[in-house]
C-alpha cells in the first residue's frame, strides 16, 4: 500500500514548478506539493511544523540562501535533518555533487533538457519514495 507523499519543492523557477505540478497531476496517486520559492520560505514552512513534508526536492541555484546553505541549515536541525532531501539541479559540477553528499542527501538528480525525460525521472523518483517507510 503506497503512501500519500507530501513533497516540499524548493524552486524559484515558475516553469519548473509548473512542470512538477503537471507530472504529479498526470499520476494516479495522491501527492501534495508544498511550494517554496527559496530557502527562507522553505525554512518558514518547516518551522510552522503543521506541514512537515515527507521528502524535499531542492534546487541548488537560488537567490538569497543557496541550496547548499539551506541543506546545511536543515541538516543541523535535530528534528528536520531526518527528512530525505533530493537535489534537483542543472549543475553537474563535481564540486557541488561532492559537497551535497558530504552534508547529507538522499539523491542527486540532473534536470534533463527534454520534458519527456523529466517526466520519466520524476515518476521514478516519486514511485520510489512512495514505497519507502518514512518517519
Amino acid at each position: 500500500m503506497a503512501n500519500d507523499l507530501k513533497v516540499l519543492l524548493i524552486e524559484d523557477d515558475t516553469i519548473e514548478i509548473m512542470k512538477l505540478h503537471r507530472v504529479v497531476s498526470s499520476l494516479p496517486l495522491n501527492y501534495k506539493i508544498i511550494e517554496a520559492k527559496n530557502g527562507e520560505e522553505a525554512l518558514d514552512i518547516l518551522e510552522k511544523k503543521d506541514e512537515i513534508p515527507d521528502i524535499i526536492l531542492l534546487d541548488l541555484n537560488m537567490p538569497k540562501i543557496s541550496g547548499i546553505e539551506f541543506l546545511s541549515i536543515l541538516k543541523e536541525n535535530p528534528s528536520l535533518k531526518y527528512i530525505p532531501t533530493i537535489i534537483l539541479t542543472t549543475s553537474n559540477n563535481q564540486k557541488d555533487l561532492l559537497e551535497c553528499y558530504k552534508i547529507g542527501i538522499a539523491g542527486y538528480i540532473l534536470k534533463p533538457l527534454k520534458y519527456e525525460d523529466y517526466v520519466s525521472k520524476i515518476e521514478k523518483l516519486l514511485a520510489y519514495w512512495s514505497i519507502n517507510e518514512l518517519i
Binding site: D13, E16, K111, Y115
Partner: protein, 404 residues
C-alpha cells in the same frame, strides 16, 4: 835501496798516477752530468715560470671579468681584495676604506650567516648560501654566496674567498611570478565557477522552452497541422543543439583548471572502455595495430581525448567499409599516437583551423565544433603536439604525442 824496493815504489807510484787520472776522469764525467742536469732544471723552471705567468694572468682576467662579485677576506672577515662587481654591489671600496664583511650582514639573517661561516671554517667551503645583505648605502639585497677557504703551503687556512651573486632581481621576479600564478589559479577557479553558473542559467530557459513546447503539443494534440508539428520539432532540435554547445563550452573551460588526478592508465583497457561507450555502426571496424602503453595522467582526460578523436573518425566516415586504425610509436621522451580513418578527409586549407574552438567544418546535429579544441587542450596539458595528415575523400590521420 834495493832494486826490488825501487820497483815496488815505482809500481805504487804508477798506480797512484793512474788512480789520479781515473778520479779526474770520474769527476769530469760527474761535472758534465751535473751541468746537463742543471741545464735541464733551468729549462724546466723557465717553462714553469711561463706557465705560472699565464695562469696568473688568466686568474687576473677571471677576477676582473666575472659578472659576480668576488671577495677575498682574512679569517676575521676583513676584506682583503675585491673586484669591481663587488665594489658596485657592496658600496665599499678597499682603495679608500677598510671594511669587514660583518658590516654586510642583514640583522634578521645574522644567525644563518654565523652558522654558515662556522661551516666554512669546519668544512672548508659552503655552497649556495642565500640570504640578505645590507650595503653601504643601506640597501637590502638578496645574494647567493659560494665560498671556500684558501690555504698556505702547510695546509693552514689563511683566508677565504667567495663569489657573491646578486639575486635580488631574480628573486623579485620569481616572487612576482609566484603571486601571479596564485592569482591566475584563483581567477581560473573563479572562471570555472562562472562557467558552471552561466551554463546553468543558459540551460534553464532551454528546459523551460522544451517543456512549454511539449505541453502545447500535448494540449493541442490532433489540432496542429503537419507544418506546425515540423516547426515544433525544429524548435526541439535547435534546443538540443544549443544545450550541447553549452555543455561543450563548460567541458572546454574545465580542462586544465580542475585539480589534475594523475594515475597509471593502461591505454589498452581505456580503449576497450571507449569502444563500449561509443556507438560503433556495423560497417565500421576499429583496429589497434600495436600494444598500447601504460601512461601516467588523468584517466578522464585521456578518455576524452581518444573518445573525441575516434567518434570524429566514426562520424565523418562515408565509406561502405569504414576502417579506423590506432597505432603508437615509442620515442625517447614521448609516445606518438596515430588515429587513421578512411573517411571524408579534410581539405588542406582547413588543417590549421580545425583545432580552434567553434570551427566545426560540418555543422550538424552531432557536431558542435568543440570536440577537437578539447582534444587540442588535453594534448597541450600533456605537453604534447597534435597535427593531421589528410586528403579529401581518402581519409585523415590524426597524430598526437604524449610526454612520458
Amino acid at each position: 835501496m834495493s832494486q826490488i824496493q825501487i820497483d815496488i815504489l815505482q809500481r805504487a807510484l804508477n798506480r797512484e798516477k793512474a788512480a789520479r787520472k781515473q778520479s779526474e776522469k770520474i769527476l769530469e764525467d760527474k761535472s758534465l752530468q751535473l751541468f746537463n742536469a742543471t741545464q735541464e732544471l733551468k729549462e724546466a723552471n723557465e717553462k714553469l715560470e711561463l706557465l705560472l705567468e699565464e695562469k696568473t694572468s688568466q686568474l687576473q682576467g677571471v677576477f676582473e671579468n666575472i659578472n659576480d662579485a668576488y671577495l677575498i677576506m682574512d679569517l676575521e672577515g676583513n676584506a682583503l681584495k675585491m673586484n669591481d662587481a663587488a665594489i658596485e654591489l657592496f658600496g665599499y671600496d678597499l682603495k679608500t676604506e677598510r671594511f669587514n664583511v660583518v658590516n654586510l650582514i642583514y640583522k634578521p639573517d645574522a644567525n644563518y650567516a654565523f652558522k654558515s661561516f662556522k661551516e666554512l671554517r669546519k668544512k672548508g667551503f659552503f655552497t649556495d648560501y642565500t640570504a640578505r645583505i645590507i650595503t653601504k648605502s643601506k640597501a637590502v639585497k638578496w645574494v647567493q654566496i659560494n665560498a671556500s677557504l684558501i690555504y698556505d703551503k702547510s695546509k693552514q687556512a689563511i683566508a677565504a674567498q667567495g663569489i657573491i651573486r646578486d639575486i635580488t632581481e631574480t628573486r623579485r621576479t620569481s616572487e612576482l611570478i609566484k603571486e601571479q600564478k596564485i592569482e591566475l589559479e584563483k581567477s581560473n577557479d573563479e572562471l570555472q565557477e562562472y562557467a558552471h553558473i552561466v551554463s546553468h542559467d543558459l540551460k534553464s530557459p532551454l528546459r523551460s522552452i522544451n517543456a512549454l513546447v511539449s505541453w502545447i503539443k500535448e494540449d493541442n494534440s490532433g489540432k496542429l497541422d503537419a507544418a506546425s508539428l515540423q516547426n515544433f520539432e525544429l524548435i526541439e532540435t535547435t534546443l538540443e543543439k544549443m544545450e550541447q554547445l553549452i555543455s561543450g563550452i563548460l567541458l572546454y573551460s574545465s580542462i586544465g583548471s580542475e585539480s589534475v588526478k594523475k594515475e597509471k592508465t593502461n591505454l589498452n583497457m581505456l580503449l576497450e572502455d571507449v569502444k563500449q561507450i561509443l556507438f560503433i555502426p556495423e560497417h565500421i571496424s576499429i583496429k589497434i595495430l600495436n600494444e598500447l602503453p601504460v601512461v601516467y595522467g588523468d584517466k578522464v582526460k585521456l578518455q576524452q581525448l581518444f573518445q573525441n578523436l575516434i567518434s570524429n573518425a566514426i562520424k565523418f566516415n562515408d565509406k561502405e567499409k569504414g576502417l579506423i586504425e590506432i597505432d603508437v610509436q615509442e620515442e625517447k621522451s614521448f609516445y606518438q599516437f596515430s588515429i587513421k580513418d578512411n573517411g571524408i578527409g579534410i581539405d588542406k586549407k582547413y588543417h590549421d583551423k580545425i583545432f580552434k574552438i567553434f570551427h566545426s567544418l560540418n555543422k550538424t546535429k552531432e557536431s558542435t565544433g568543440i570536440g577537437l579544441s578539447i582534444v587540442k587542450k588535453i594534448v597541450d596539458l600533456f605537453k604534447g603536439e597534435i597535427w593531421i595528415e589528410s586528403e579529401p575523400n581518402i581519409g585523415t590521420t590524426f597524430y598526437f604525442t604524449l610526454k612520458k
